[in-house]
Amino acid sequence: METEFTPITSLLGGALIGLSAVLLMAMHGRIAGISGIVARMLPPSADKAGLPQGIIFVFGLLIAAPLWIALTGTIPDQVISAGGPALAIAGLLVGFGSVLGNGCTSGHGVCGISRGSARSIVATITFMATAFVTVFIIRHIVGS
């Protein structure tokens, strides 16, 4: 299904994400990579020292939508077109891949590119490429 091109709100939302990343770097000296923050909380070898701050950050993520709804009176648009089995596989791949590749859209895509990391640039090009191919296959080959 089509979604509306939203250059202004997307740019502003992106700037907020950037602000969050800068704040986290200024406070803890850490990259705001969501996969890393979540994965570090999980066994094996959970990072016990960083756990409280990780939990607080994730809690901040979790209250964003309820606060948004309370303050704006609107529920964020969300259309999840993938079915249960596809989402289960997608979750496995995203979780496994982000830990194996040391980062996701935020860690590599935003923070890594911002600090000019060649590894992050290569990672971002790689996951963009496989994601483009995947969507092409599910929408234009399998789905047509």
Partner: protein, 143 residues
């Protein structure tokens, strides 16, 4: 103070994802659908984020240490190993398939969709599996 700022940081991130439309998997998948219902918004999200993060990181790192830590935990590796490429490639397939990556999925959890719950549950399993597979000596988180 430290806890409040960390909470604000998470809240800013989540709000940014919602405002930008990235909590909507359809919008993410449409960015990835160049030959269909293409929606370039995601490029603007990344652009907006990088425009703030790049100068912000540069400024922050003029300090000797972060405010609440004794050092900057910056990734130091510069090599391209098979794990990086295989991991990113795997991540991309999952991202395209579901339209979710970790940040938007966690942010979407309170919206209460079953699909989000399924995705998060298997994402956590995938992360733990990768941590078991990855040897601690090479596991140096960039994120």
């Amino acid at each position: 103070m430290r806890n409040i700022l960390t909470l604000i940081s998470g809240l800013l991130f989540g709000t940014g994802l919602i405002l930008s439309g990235m909590a909507n998997p359809a919008k993410v998948q449409n960015f990835l659908d160049l030959f269909g219902t293409w929606d370039p918004s995601l490029a603007f999200v990344m652009g907006g984020a990088i425009m703030v993060t790049m100068p912000g990181f540069w400024l922050v790192q003029k300090r000797a240490t972060p405010f609440f830590s004794d050092m900057f935990h910056m990734p130091t590796r510069t090599d391209f190993d098979a794990r990086l490429i295989a991991g990113a490639a795997t991540f991309g397939v999952g991202w395209g398939l579901g339209g979710f990556c970790p940040g938007p999925a966690v942010t979407s959890l309170p919206l209460g969709s079953t699909g989000t719950l399924i995705f998060i549950a298997t994402m956590l399993l995938g992360m733990m599996a990768a941590k078991y597979v990855a040897s601690p000596s090479t596991a140096q988180q960039e994120t």
